[in-house]
Assembly symmetry: C2
Homo-oligomer: 327 residues x 2
C-alpha cells in the first residue's frame, strides 16, 4: 500500500467517527462551522494514533476515539490560528472566520476542543481500561497546552531577528510537534505498549513532527509554484522566521544579515530571489534539510522497539513521506 492509500483508508474511518461526534452539536450554524474543515486534511495525526496502537499489538478500535479527538484538536488550533494570523483561506476553502465571522469561529474552535475530550472519554465503553484512557487523555491534554504556548512564543518572536535556533526549535516543538508526538504516544498507550515502547513512540512522533514543520518551510523555498499552490518564497514575503532564516542570520556577515532582515521586513516579493541567495550562501537550506533527514532516520530507528508488522511498515513509510512530499 502507498502512503496516500493508508492515509485515505484511515481518513474514511476517522471522518465517520468525527461526524458522529459532531452530529448533535447545536444550533445548526455551529454544527456547520464545526464540520467545515474536517474533510480537507491529510489525517496524518489520527493515522499515527491508529498505527501506533496497532504496532504495539493493540486493536484499531481501542484508538479510534482518540484518533478522532487528535484531529478535532488539530482543527480547533487551525481555526483559532487563522483568526489570530488573519489567514483567509484554509484547505482550499474560506477560513471559518471568513465564512461565519470571528465570534462564531472562536466558538467553533472551543466546541471542537471540548468535543475532542468528550470523544476520548467515550473510549471507556469500548472496554479499554480507565488507566489507559486517562493516560491517553493526559498525553493529549498536555500537548494542547503546548500548542497554545507554542503559538504564543511564535507571536512573541514576530519581528525579533535575534531568536536562537534552540528557541526556534522549542517553539515549533510546542506548536506543531507536540501534538504529533501525543498522537503516536497516545496510540501506544491505548494499544497496551510497554513504558519503553510508549517512550520510543513519543520520541518518534516528536522527531517526525519537527521534520514535518521544517520541511514545510523548506518546501516553500525549493518546491515549485505548481506543487505548492502558492508562489515560491511566500514565507519570505510574509517575513516569517524559519529554521533556514534563523540559521542564516546566526552565520551571516553583518551586511548580509542586514540585507536579509530588510527583505523580511519589506513584505514585498521583488527580493525573494536575493533572500534565497543569502540562505544558500550560508548553506542554510541544505543544513535545514539535513536536520529533517536525520530526524526521520532516527525516528524510523526508534520503531525497533516493536516487532515487524504492517502497522510498523506504515509508520516507516509515514516518516519518509514527511521528508519526500513535494507539497
Amino acid at each position: 500500500m502507498e502512503v496516500t492509500d493508508i492515509l485515505r483508508k484511515n481518513s474514511t474511518i476517522v471522518d465517520k467517527e468525527i461526524n458522529e461526534s459532531l452530529s448533535e452539536v447545536c444550533p445548526g450554524k455551529l454544527q456547520d462551522a464545526s464540520k467545515h474543515l474536517i474533510t480537507g486534511g491529510k489525517k496524518i495525526r489520527p493515522s499515527l494514533v491508529l498505527l501506533s496502537c496497532e504496532a504495539v499489538g493493540g486493536s484499531v478500535d481501542s484508538a479510534l476515539k482518540t484518533a478522532a479527538a487528535v484531529e478535532l484538536i488539530h482543527t480547533f488550533s487551525l481555526i483559532h490560528d487563522d483568526i489570530m494570523d488573519k489567514d483567509d483561506m484554509r484547505r482550499g476553502k474560506p477560513s471559518v472566520h471568513v465564512k461565519w465571522g470571528e465570534p462564531m469561529a472562536i466558538l467553533t474552535g472551543d466546541t471542537l476542543f471540548s468535543k475532542a475530550f468528550e470523544t476520548i472519554l467515550e473510549t471507556g465503553i469500548d472496554g479499554v481500561t480507565y488507566e489507559r484512557v486517562v493516560g491517553a487523555l493526559k498525553t493529549v491534554v498536555d500537548s494542547c497546552t503546548k500548542i497554545c504556548e507554542g503559538q504564543a512564543f511564535d507571536m512573541c518572536f514576530e519581528g525579533n531577528f535575534e531568536v536562537t535556533e534552540v528557541e526556534y526549535m522549542n517553539m515549533i516543538y510546542m506548536k506543531t510537534a507536540a501534538l504529533i508526538a501525543a498522537a503516536s504516544k497516545a496510540g501506544a498507550i491505548l494499544g497496551g505498549g510497554t513504558p519503553q515502547q510508549v517512550e520510543a513512540f513519543e520520541e518518534y512522533g516528536k522527531l517526525i513532527g519537527l521534520a514535518f514543520q521544517i520541511q514545510d518551510d523548506y518546501l516553500d523555498v525549493v518546491s515549485s509554484e505548481e506543487d505548492l499552490g502558492k508562489p515560491v518564497g511566500s514565507d519570505i514575503v510574509e517575513g516569517k522566521m524559519t529554521l533556514m532564516v534563523v540559521n542564516a542570520l546566526s552565520k551571516a556577515s553583518p551586511e548580509d544579515k542586514k540585507e536579509l532582515i530588510s527583505i523580511l521586513k519589506a513584505h514585498e516579493d521583488t527580493d525573494v530571489g536575493r533572500a534565497i541567495e543569502i540562505l544558500e550562501k550560508y548553506d542554510s537550506i541544505k543544513y535545514t534539510y539535513n536536520i529533517s533527514l536525520n530526524n526521520v532516520e532516527k525516528a524510523k530507528k526508534l520503531l525497533d522497539v516493536v516487532e515487524d508488522s504492517d502497522a510498523k511498515q506504515s509508520l516507516i513509510m509515514l516518516a519518509d513521506f514527511v521528508l519526500h512530499r513535494t507539497s
Copy 2:
C-alpha cells in the same frame, strides 16, 4: 459562618491551586494574561464542587483539583465571551483582549481551557479512583460543550423577538446553569455519592444556576445604580433578551409589544422607564422573581438526599444567596 465567609475561605484555597496550575505557563505574557481575572471572581462554582463533595461524605482534598478546573473553565468562557460581545471591562478591570489584544486573549482562553483538564487529571495522584476522576471529567467536559452551544444560541437569538420561553430557558441552561450543575455533580461524584445523590446534586446545581442567571437580569431592573455599579436597566439599553422581556413579549398587546421591541432596538437610555412599565404591566418582573424563588426552594429540598452537615447548610445558604444578593 456567613455565605461571604464561606466563599472567601474557599476562594483562598482554590486560588492557590489555580496559581500553582498556571505557574509553569510560558511565555510570561501568556502566564500574566492567564492569571489576570483569577483573583476577581466570587468563586461560587468551585465552592459548589468542594461543598458537594463534603456533603456526600468525601474530603475536600479529593475535589480541590476539579474545583480549580471549574473556575478555570468559567474564566476561559468569560475571556472568549468578552471578545465576542466586545465587553471592555470585567471584574472591575480591563478585559484580557483590551489589555493584551484579541489574538493573545483567544490563546489565553484556550490555555485556561486546556489547563482545566490537565488539573482535573492530576486528581489521580491524590488517591481518588480513576472511575471517579473519569466521571468528574465527563461531567465537566459535557458542560463545556453546552457553554459553547448556549453562547451560539444566544448569538443566534440576537434581534429575534420571537424567542419562546422554552428556547430562552434552554439557552441559559446551556450557557450558565450547565457548568454550575457540573460543579455540584462532579463534587458529588468525587466524594463518592450514590447515583441518587449525584443526580440530586446535579439538579440542585441546575436549578440554582438558572435562578442565578434569572436574578442577574432581574437585578438589572429592580436594584440600584449604587449596588449594580452600572445604571439600572442597562440590559434594556443593550437590547438584551431576558426572561422578563421574553415573558412580556409573549403576553403583551400588539401595541405594547411593538413599543417594547422598538425600545430594545433603539439602544438609548431615554425610554428605559417606559420599558420597565411594560414589564410591570404584564407582571413579568414578578413572574421572573417567582421562577427564581421556586427554583431555589426546589434546589434546597433536593439536598434532603444527604444527612445534615456544615457542608449541607452551606449549600442551603448558597442557594439563598443566589436569590437574595443585591448585585
